[in-house]
Assembly symmetry: C2
Homo-oligomer: 112 residues x 2
DNA sequence: ATATGTATTGACATTCAACTCAATATTGTA
DNA sequence: TACAATATTGAGTTGAATGTCAATACATAT
């Protein structure tokens, strides 16, 4: 099982980007990137992960999933919707399986 | 529209509990309860809200919804489930209505 | 009225995530 | 080899969230 840092390092290298370049574009210190890549620090905030992925041109989903963090837009969407919160409470008490979550994602698409 | 503090104060009084009693049982300083009730501080952490509601014998849902905060168990359930995160990403891009969320909650119950 | 329980207020404390800065080491290249 | 680019490391910073503590004010029953 690869770590967050390992995966990030692989992606960055595969894109021929230096830590400094990445850091500059993302707006953080380059030493921070180094520590993340070597797993000397916990993964960055969700929004920073998203920026990193944008700069590297890859979807953020996998890296986000590894950290269990939610980007601000999603967090806010839930915060503002009591109905969504209720849904999540139900879902939690039921401890849904991955398949069940997928099924719900399908249901989602049917709504529109 | 009532504030978090106002509602908490009403509930506490309706149960004939003093701030000190509540604070002691919840495990916080009584002055903190006072500030919350008078809206001199932002609402407590989600888990503290849950404890408060347990002590007062009311469901935490309404107060939680007012703050948009998620209790640890729910947060963790989502964090650990990439499939759940995927679902939420989809849901966010679709900006579901309250009714649609309710519909999904219904779907949930059908699953079992 | 005063004593006692109850509530409020102001200032300060703690914790943690999420970084930055400066120094040092490593790697690649001519 | 030696120089420049790149990466690593250690220590410190910052801001937000979540409270505590001590002092003061208010309320209420006797």
């Amino acid at each position: 099982m690869k770590t967050f840092g390992q995966i990030l390092k692989e992606i960055r290298r595969s894109k021929n980007v230096t830590q400094r370049e990445l850091a500059t574009e993302v707006g953080v210190d380059f030493s921070y990137i180094s520590k993340i890549e070597n797993d000397h620090m916990s993964p960055p905030a969700a929004d920073t992960i998203v920026k990193i992925c944008e700069v590297l041109g890859v979807p953020p989903d996998d890296l986000l999933a590894m950290t269990g963090k939610m980007p601000t837009p999603i967090r806010e969407a839930i915060s503002e919707k009591p109905a969504a919160q209720q849904f999540l409470r139900e879902a939690q008490t039921m401890t849904l399986t991955d398949d069940e979550w997928s099924a719900l994602t399908q249901q989602l698409k049917k709504l529109r």
